[in-house]
Amino acid sequence: MKDQHVHHFEHTDVKVGVYVCHCGINIASKVNVHEVVEFAKNLPNVTVATEYKFMCSDAGQDIIVQDIRSGKVNRVIVASCSPLMHEITFRNATQHGGINPYFFQMANIREHVSWVTAEKEDATVKAKALVAAAVHRVSKHTSLEKKYFPVNPNVLVVGGGIAGIQAALTIANAGKKVYLVEREPTIGGHMAKFDKTFPTLDCAACILTPKMSQVRSHPNITLWTYAEVENVSGYVGNFTVQVKHKKRYINADTCIGCKACVDACIGPENIPDEFNEGLSYRKPVYMPFPQATPSVVIIDENSCYHFTKGGCPPDFSSKNGHLSPQLQSLLRRANECFELRDFQETLKLTKEILKSSPEHQETLFLHAQTLYQLGMINEATEVMRNVMVKERCVAACPKGSVDLYQTEAISEIQVGAIIIATGFKTFQGERTTQYGYKRYPNVFTSLEIERLVNASGPTGGEIVLRDGKTKPKSVAILHCVGSRDLHSNRYCSRVCCMYSLKLAHLIKERTGAEVYNFYIDMRTPGKGYEEFYEKLCHENVHFIRGRAAEVTDWVLSKAELGKLVVRAEDTLLGMVRRVPVDMVVLSVGLEPQTDAEEVRRKFNISCSKEGWFLERHPKLAPVNTFTDGIFLAGACQGPKDIPDTVAQAGAAAAEALALIDIGYVEMEPNTAFITEENCSGCRICVALCPYTAITTDPVKLISVVNPALCKGCGTCVAACPSGAAQQNLFTDEQIFEEIEGVLEYV
């Protein structure tokens, strides 16, 4: 690892080489490179100043290497792009030449100068200032050793959609251990809701469910569903993550998914089914969908009687006992009072009845309910115990897996790398009020239609109107709802054109209806995508170029009666059209998850303005984040279709594998250190350090920095009143030189 020919120059005999890069025309078109070179020649200690078309090329690097080897220079300045781009490249070249790699400094004259400055003259002046700053600074550089830290070989994948599944399987197949954490009760994500995928129209379930069960059974994958990452600490290679297991009220390890509890449940049956976008209903205990992985039910505490009423209502017929007619009328009144929410009165009445008939089941139950409503939970529970109702699900479960008193649990794990694959949410159709979603029943979102066309969906694949039976004869698909719109999202959601085409095809195929696509532009770049569009054009699907203005039930003719009218300007025809249809489908765009901001903070990564997680570099580091060791996969980084998501998940897995496979991480040696003779032992730095890396030496009574814990922020250095605390690569001396250099000459 260490170069054999490292020479140690310190501040004596400094010979600075300045290499100004043209970057093709990226720099040269705005900065007078020659003038900068001539300027650099007169700067202190500069022995070589030259220019080259592409300094980062092999030939460019070789100039540096040769100049060092021939003894012309022992400090290197490259004035080119951002250090975040090529600092490592040139440090390596410097080292290759035979001197310490930290005898190098970069001047950012592309991102900070040529790309942002209007006038060539101004740009040249600014470039000169930055070069001078670097020249001043580099003469104060010292030789440093790289730091290496061991890497924990386990990986955490957050999110169990197709991105998370793909990444987890890739890593697990490489023999590494993966924790896959999913916040929903099942993995599968959005893809599990789809029937067919574009453009091949292969069945989503057929390609996804095998992967889901592989995840479940893979010996290297620990799958935690209905769990969320609570806290992340540590750094690349050594993250400590706390995962919260939410209350599912089922022991996920023993449940066999027989659904006996679902059959036995007598709770309300009218709870909108989340998986079916509310198009069907479920009970409080339910299996999210038949192929749910793991095949474990869940109890919804917002609707289960155990949580809303304090218990399952008893079966009164079998063990009700006898009540005198007088008491019966009291009970009737008590029930009425309960309905009217007059709980005090109810309580009085039930007490009265129980005085003479203490075993009466129905009264006891009502009594318990009333106590529960009045907030006397303990008393209510006590009474319920006497009613002897065992919750139906508890009684029905053959494995004893129902645990209505389950508490949240926290697992703490150590991982070396984290892949975030938290996906997206779809745009809420009701936000575009002009399309009348939720106002007109037959306006649907595309995700609802995905469930309707799905063979295992609420209608078994029948495409019907909201009444549940009528087949539409005409359907309008409105593109760009919540995309390319100044009022909601400016960006293109990338997938909507293609899925709209897919839905158009499926609707046409299943119902024979006339299908109208209202689009701004058809965006179908991708393998086989344009061909799919062309195929649809031949299937007699109508394409109207013009964003729909509104969906209305304002009719102008008999033909429009009882229909929804889509008004749009047909920009090819040059006129406003009214198209009456039975069903409107809103092709809703993709948005970041509601809690993207919270997640971002948890993992200390960045977001774009829209809320998509920010990649380190859009082209060269598309799955890296600004926090080393944390990678992105799938739509959490930006709207993406399935092929791109899977490809990116593979890339994220490869990055994570590269990190954990080599077994160590190289850290910037930018840690703080204390110059013993200057430290007075005031301990200001000790309190400031966020990583408790600074302690007080009990004998010398001065501060000591533990370089293994120091992350190199330099906060202690800025605060040290005696200048004893210093930061490698950012010493006071170096920064003062930089300040002077940046202002001294121009």
Binding site: T433, R439, W554
Partner: protein, 301 residues
């Protein structure tokens, strides 16, 4: 609660919109709101000015905004503009001064300076509907309702200016605040898609056929959906829909029948039990009658 009051001129509060002003004053008085008229106000700069020379219109509107600041030096001036056109023009001026600092902000501020005004931008322009629904609140209004409008089918008509384009207090495409207000009075509000369609505006005065056609569309749709009354929040809409009703009937060959067009404040006052005369009902061309008894016999549901 107190507001500055900007009556507006061309067809509004002191002129053909008299009933609006009367009912608004009566309602606000009942609700304990005090008004202070903006001293020395001038035309807002709507329609003609805005269409021919925007800068002149901005100049006129900004004078009113500056006057408000002058009159309320120690607090945020809240300038109530009941006419939708005044409301939108003054809001537009505020936005343009802010959004186009160089092209609009600086010249307007300079012009105001010449006239001895300063404008800091703190004046808020408010519409009575916004004030009733969001400042006073529906709960308080419900408490004041003496004669609930049970069974009355009201088509709330916002017009094209009130919530557009700035959407200060309600949705741009499908506003609900006036509907909520009507429901608070006990009336049933009509769901209809033409809430924010244009009434024809000043077109009725210039290209009459085009203007009347737009009014006809609104009246026809309200009637088709069984509205007993249309309520508006703009003197211009009210004039177009009501005063020209007979002409529209003639032109459409009996396509529509008489439909009362009220200011929303008239109906609020009516439900509060304020005498009809104080609410300007006598100024209506199409008289409004409401007897809850008759409605009950017809069957409400």
């Amino acid at each position: 609660m107190s507001y500055l009051y900007y009556p507006g001129c061309c067809c509004s509060m002191k002129a053909s919109g008299k009933a609006y002003e009367e009912s608004l004053m009566a309602v606000l008085k009942k609700l304990g709101v005090t008004l202070e008229e903006l001293k020395d106000w001038n035309c807002c700069g709507a329609t003609m000015y805005m269409a021919i020379d925007q800068m002149q219109a901005f100049g006129m509107a900004s004078r009113n905004l500056a006057l408000a600041e002058q009159q309320c030096p120690n607090k945020t001036p809240e300038l109530m503009a009941p006419c939708s056109a005044c409301y939108v023009v003054m809001n537009k001026t505020k936005h343009f001064i802010e959004d186009y600092k160089e092209q609009v902000g600086t010249p307007i501020r300079n012009a105001l300076k010449e006239a001895g005004f300063t404008y800091t931008g703190k004046t808020k322009v408010r519409h009575p509907l916004d004030i009733l629904v969001n400042d006073i609140g529906l709960d308080k209004i419900r408490q004041h309702v003496k004669k609930p409008l049970k069974g009355l089918k009201v088509a709330s008509y916002y017009g094209c200016l009130l919530v557009r384009p700035y959407s200060e207090f309600d949705d741009v495409h499908y506003p609900r605040s006036m509907d909520n207000l009507m429901e608070a009075l006990g009336a049933s509000s009509l769901e209809w898609p033409l809430k924010t369609r244009c009434c024809g505006g000043s077109m009725t005065g210039t290209v009459e056929d085009a203007g009347l056609r737009l009014s006809y569309i609104i009246l026809n749709e309200a009637e088709r959906r069984g509205a007993d009354v249309v309520v508006t929040a703009c003197p211009f809409c009210q004039t177009n829909l009501e005063c020209f009703q007979q002409r529209i009937q003639r032109k459409s060959k009996g396509g529509i029948s008489d439909l009362p067009i009220l200011f929303f404040t008239q109906l609020v006052g009516y439900a509060m039990g304020i005498p009809e005369r104080e609410l300007g009902f006598h100024r209506l061309f199409v008289p409004f009658h409401f007897s809850p008894k008759q409605v009950v016999t017809e069957g409400v549901e």
